[in-house]
Symmetry: C2
Subunit: 302 residues, 2 copies
């Protein structure tokens, strides 16, 4: 599971900073999260194969989180993409993208499937054998969701020495992996936990941008391996955080601590700050495993 930060600044793209966009690689998926202006160029710069992107998640309809989407959709068309593209985002996204395709008289030759979000409760929006994606309702100036990406718990692992000693027929191995007790060749009941080991701990990633300090997200993101939480401001500008419904680095760290997450990544910095070290220092006064997002940075999620 690997996260690549394409852009992690708020507000407006500049020559050396990009608005929000991230790529999450999880169980052979390449999920694109938010898509500010210039994302398609950052995807190229970071050598992400366009054809592998099949699901795009848009947190909200402020420009720094989605103005690059229509261009990316259009580039996919020019590259003669045929694979379906699923887009998850607030209601309104379909209308604005469709209007632009209509005005250009340029319709995609691949299937564009919008999953428009309106719920204010966390919901399961994607699921397959190995992965789930849930929304994280955030508290921002307009309707906004974060996203929780979770590996599903895998099968239990056979403890082969114990299995062989217990005289279990090979046809029962599947049931053992699924956690059932079985009867061995001598008719004796074998308790599952005596011959198997727990599955590998599933990893998870929570993306929370943009939001004001909001403890209601804690039950949803509790114990995630990695939390990205916006920190637009430092504590000294907390008076700006409330009216704009953004967070400070200290508030992000407080959420990380209360939710017992594995690691915290900060981002969505206001472009007023030239030096970002203070974000890390401020957050580390509350929570000890803090990393700063940086355009082009890759973070392994363990």
């Amino acid at each position: 599971m690997k996260l690549t930060i394409l852009g992690c600044y708020s507000a407006t793209p500049r020559t050396n900073t990009n608005p929000t966009s991230q790529v999450l690689e999880i169980n052979n998926h390449v999920f694109l999260i938010d898509c500010g202006e210039g994302t398609q160029v950052e995807l190229r710069r970071n050598k992400v194969k366009f054809s592998r992107i099949k699901h795009i998640f848009i947190s909200h309809l402020h420009g720094d989180h989605y103005f690059g989407l229509v261009g990316l959709i259009s580039t996919f068309r020019l590259l003669t993409r045929e694979t379906d593209l699923h887009i998850y985002g607030p209601k309104g996204l379909k209308e604005v993208i469709t209007l632009q395709m209509k005005l250009a008289d340029s319709w995609t030759n691949y299937k564009l499937i919008f999953h428009e979000l309106t719920s204010k409760e966390s919901e399961l929006i994607y699921e397959d054998d190995k992965v789930e994606v849930h929304t994280i309702p955030l508290d921002h100036r307009i309707y906004t969701n974060g996203f929780l990406f979770k590996e599903k718990e895998g099968e239990r692992k056979l403890d082969m020495n114990a299995v062989l000693n217990a005289d279990i027929d090979v046809s029962y191995y599947r049931k053992l992996k699924q956690g059932f007790d079985v009867v061995n060749e001598k008719g004796k009941l074998i308790k599952n936990e005596t011959v198997t080991k727990p599955p590998i701990n599933p990893k998870s990633y929570a993306f929370c941008s943009d939001t004001m300090y909001n403890e209601r997200i804690i039950p949803i993101i509790e114990h995630v391996s990695l939390l990205y939480h916006e920190s637009t401001f430092l504590e000294k500008h907390i008076s700006l955080a409330a009216p704009t419904k953004h967070s400070t680095a200290k508030q992000a760290a407080t959420i990380a601590k209360l939710a017992n997450v594995g690691k915290l990544v900060l981002g969505h910095y206001s472009t007023r700050y030239d030096d970002l070290k203070a974000f890390k220092t401020e957050a580390e006064s509350i929570f000890n495993d803090v990393e700063l997002a940086k355009d082009g940075k890759t973070i392994e999620i363990n």
Copy 2:
């Protein structure tokens, strides 16, 4: 009069090439022409002051010519712009920009004035004391205009030796500059052309992108100082030019020759070409003053 090429490639932005956008400086105006994705970053890179842009001209609603506009409008807002912004472009542009502002609940604090174009005949769309802007109806897959920017003819210049010798009272100088004959202190009629010189030749710039070969534009662009004409393809790919309604370098040069323009600039290259030299060579076989557009290049118009 100075033209800065921000982007001159067709189709899709890449790490090293930008879609169409240009800045024309003419009589203290800074006109922005087309606005592909990433234009606001290229404006910064080329040190164009955002506050000086008061008029934006959009040729058509294919993404590589306007997907950067909504982001630029939004950045102007974040920079607390107060000056009016005039946008000239095809009908539909207002709807798509307004929809995005509505979805973001982010309205500009400055006045956004749309001048939507629908006419298929050339029309005067901007005029002041010194400058005129006319549309150039082009032939492309969707409704498209080029733009003709013209300095107005200035006043005649006084030939001061001749004026003094002719005993003309200073109160008549204004009339002389305006081209009138005057009566001198001795009551003698002085013919204007004996004491003045013609005004400096007004300069003009025609922007033609995107279009198939179209001789109907010739009367509009005749004798312009500088013509930018798209050349998406080389002649060897002419079979692609017709169905996509684009031009080859040779066709662009033929238009330049038939319209007797001062100089031709080529651009809107398909990204299939790594080396652009062949565009110049091909065009020069028809017309002798040819320059290749290049992102970041500045061209003085004389």
